[in-house]
Amino acid sequence: MSDDWPLFEVFIRSRSGLEHKHVGSLHAADARMAVEHARDVYTRRLEGVSIWVVRSVDIVASDPSEAEALFEPARDKVYRHPTFYSIPEEVKNL
């Protein structure tokens, strides 16, 4: 039956203020079922306070064969890293 059900990607927000993070994927017949499955599969141990699901086919991904062109040019631009600033101790989630 799984073959008939579309694949969904699951994103969980672990607590308020944090972003949703990709945690995995699952099969479901529709979006409502995907949320229920995500709840049952990925939040059994209080992992989250919010769930996003999106059909995997709706995600547009970069092409691994283009990785050099896309990512290599950033390699020698170390000045883009914000390592020259001191971060206040109160800032936890930067």
């Binding site: 099969h27 479901a28 229920e36 599969v41």
Partner: protein
């Protein structure tokens, strides 16, 4: 204004016994339904549904633990949740007859679950206002769980009822077959009357009307037909059960019966 006669010791004993039996019924229904759902583990049609049904089962067994633990205290004979769950025979169980009905196919399990989720929604919500504050607290916790159970079961009911020709036939068949057991859900007996008079339990008639309206709404969404009223003489909550409960308990209690007091 005439004063109420002071309650006699017999009256107190009767009320305490009814209180115990009332809580025991709630606990047994959750326990038996939870055990039934756990039979799906490893056999559900999808991995995700396997986990989903197991989550429901765990919620229900958690409810049963709280309720049976409390029932044991009300009874006052030193029986704890384990003694009540594993060392009673079928005629001593007082769960609703519907809860013990076999799983059948996935659709039948969903129909049974949905009928009982709708029942628990009404009962637990009303019990949050019980004069028994401990029972009210248990009901408040269980109500949150039940709201999710209902979301799960009603979603599947609509999906299957309004699904393929085969899924529709299967859930309609299960509904037609299980419907007779719903006569028991809101039929009051002496224990209900005593606990209602003490404001421990809610009056059942208004809850039955809410339940019925919810059932009609969901059946409409699922394009299923409500079966005709079927009077049914069995009363699980009085200890009169279908043959299925004994077989289920045989499996559930096997370990404790074979190795009394076994722990891990």
């Amino acid at each position: 204004m005439s004063a109420m006669p002071p309650p006699s010791p017999e009256h107190d004993a009767d009320r305490r016994q009814a209180h115990y039996r009332y809580v025991l019924r709630l606990g047994d229904t959750s326990l038996v339904l939870g055990q039934r759902l756990s039979e799906w583990i490893g056999h559900a049609p999808e991995l995700e549904e396997d986990l989903g049904l197991a989550n429901l089962a765990l919620d229900l067994i958690g409810q049963a633990r709280l309720l049976l633990c409390y029932a044991g205290e009300l009874e006052g004979r030193g029986r704890d949740e384990d003694a009540l769950a594993f060392l009673r025979d079928a005629p001593e169980f007082v769960n609703l007859t519907l809860a013990e009905q076999p799983n059948g196919d996935f659709g039948r399990t969903i129909v049974r679950q949905w009928l009982l989720d709708c029942w628990q929604l009404e009962i637990y919500e009303a019990l949050t206002a019980s004069a028994d504050t401990r029972l009210a607290a248990i009901a408040a916790k269980a109500l949150k769980e039940t709201r999710y159970h209902y979301r799960f079961s009603s979603g599947w009911l609509v999906r299957l009822g309004d699904g393929t020709e085969e899924s529709r036939q299967r859930v309609q068949g299960a509904l037609d077959e299980l419907w007779r057991f719903t006569a028991e859900l809101f039929a009051p007996d002496a224990i209900d009357e005593v606990t209602q008079a003490a404001a421990i339990a809610p009056p059942l008639a208004p809850l039955a009307a809410h339940w019925s309206a919810r059932i009609d709404t969901d059946l409409g969404a699922a394009t299923l037909r409500r079966p005709a009223v079927q009077p049914y003489p069995w009363h699980g909550k009085s200890g009169v059960h279908t043959e299925h409960l004994g077989h289920m308990l045989g499996e559930m209690q096997h370990l404790q019966r074979t190795y009394p007091g076994a722990r891990w």
